[in-house]
């Protein structure tokens, strides 16, 4: 049986990938942010999970606004990164697990989450930067990956509560797969930030910390908010925090927090790192 051994949260912003590529991770601006991942990296090296499901939003690489699925899942053996228009060198391709993906899609759809299934999927910085920051750069990645995309770009978006429920269904889906796989789920993006409008540049540290506490102890506080309420506090792009709730929903009622880290600012954002294990 496949088993969820941990849940992680992480930023996915482009600047993180740029800092890695430019060798800036130990510069003053970045050091505290990147060093805060070390306990998670050590844990991953010890536990050697087989698969990581990365929950993220596409920013206009794989999906254009002509077709904007609310929830989509990669169902392929391989995922390519590609130029997002800025001329950055793509990473090595990621190995998928098509059998596992199709099982997850079937189970989720049976549970009334009507996923968009993707047999080809370009993965953008929202997926790639979490992989790079958690595992380092590789020509052959040390883990299989499954991309799970949530629309956080073109409203209407799914509610925070719906994301949490997707996570609950994902747990059922994972735990009904017959192969013995150790699975980690990463909820990416956030925390508070807003890129445009007169209010651009907001970071609300108190709200970010409240969201992190809620993810650990009481996710209902987070998911009881409407998307408008979340955006009022966290900013239009801070709504990405709802993707943390997908991870959290998959972890069961109670979790042990093995590591928590927060830093601000990273580019325009507050950045939170959590490592959770189920306490059930």
């Amino acid at each position: 049986m496949a088993n969820i051994i941990g849940g992680v949260t992480t930023s996915h912003i482009p600047a993180v990938g740029n800092a890695i590529s430019q060798g800036l991770t130990q510069e003053y601006y970045w050091k505290r942010f990147f060093d805060g991942y070390n306990p998670v990296k050590t844990w991953l090296k010890e536990k050697k999970p087989d698969v990581i499901i990365i929950v993220y939003n596409d920013h206009g690489l794989n999906f254009f606004l002509d077709k904007s699925p609310t929830f989509a899942i990669g169902c392929a053996d391989e995922y390519q990164n590609a130029d997002e228009g800025w001329g950055l060198k793509p990473t090595a391709p990621f190995t998928g697990d098509a059998e596992f993906s199709w099982h997850l899609a079937e189970s989720l759809i049976e549970q009334e989450f009507d996923m968009c299934t993707c047999q080809e999927m370009l993965v953008d910085h929202g997926f790639v930067n979490p992989a790079r920051v958690l595992f380092g750069d590789h020509e052959v990645w040390p883990i299989k990956t499954i991309p799970l995309v949530v629309n956080t770009v073109q409203h209407p978006l799914p509610s925070a509560k719906r994301c949490y429920k997707l996570g609950e269904a994902l747990k059922v889906a994972i735990e009904s797969y017959p192969e013995d796989l150790n699975v980690v789920i990463a909820g990416t993006g956030g925390l508070s930030h807003q890129l445009q409008g007169e209010r651009a540049g907001i970071i609300d540290v108190d709200y970010d910390l409240a969201c992190m506490a809620s993810i650990i102890n009481d996710p209902s506080w987070f998911y009881s908010q409407s998307n408008a309420e979340i955006m009022e506090k966290a900013g239009t792009e801070g709504i990405e925090g709802i993707m943390w709730l997908v991870m959290r929903g998959a972890m069961g009622d109670k979790v042990n927090c093995l590591h928590k880290h927060y830093h601000a600012p990273i580019s325009n954002t507050g950045a939170g790192v959590l490592l959770l294990e189920s306490a059930e």
Binding site: A82, E84, A200
Partner: protein, 133 residues
């Protein structure tokens, strides 16, 4: 035929990318999305006017793209992630574009953000349980 009002409309200085904005700026975003392909970037650079016509931009949108008026492109409803594919290769970061809304420079914008680091460790210590090296 009316665009529905939303709870988020009242948030100060905030433009949520919803159906109304996505509909209005569709051609602009489609043009920017094409810049994922290097051949499209080259084609645009060789003849920007024809390229705008190919994507059906109306006159006002075309004027903004040709003059690289990033602020008004965003005000016209373009999505920041898509506009980034246009402005970043031209030396204007997403932060510079955000700063323009407040009529400040990108450096001033970044300085304001950096202030968030002041007192952060103390705040986290008060919260308790946070890693700090």
């Amino acid at each position: 035929m009316v665009w529905k009002k939303h709870e988020y409309d009242k948030i100060f200085g905030t433009y949520v990318f919803d159906g109304e904005r996505a509909h209005r700026s569709y051609a602009l975003n489609k043009l920017f999305y094409s810049f994922n392909e290097e051949c499209c970037r080259t084609e645009f650079n060789e003849d920007p006017t024809s390229y705008c016509d190919k994507f059906g931009l109306h006159e006002e949108q075309k004027k903004m793209v040709l003059s690289q008026d990033f602020l008004n492109i965003l005000r016209a409803g373009a999505n920041i992630y898509y506009m980034a594919k246009f402005c970043i290769p031209r030396g204007v970061t997403v932060q510079d574009a955000g700063a323009a809304f407040q009529n400040i420079t990108g450096d001033e914008f970044r300085d304001k953000l950096l202030k968030k680091r002041d007192g952060l460790v103390q705040r986290l210590t008060k919260e308790g349980g946070y890693w700090n090296g």
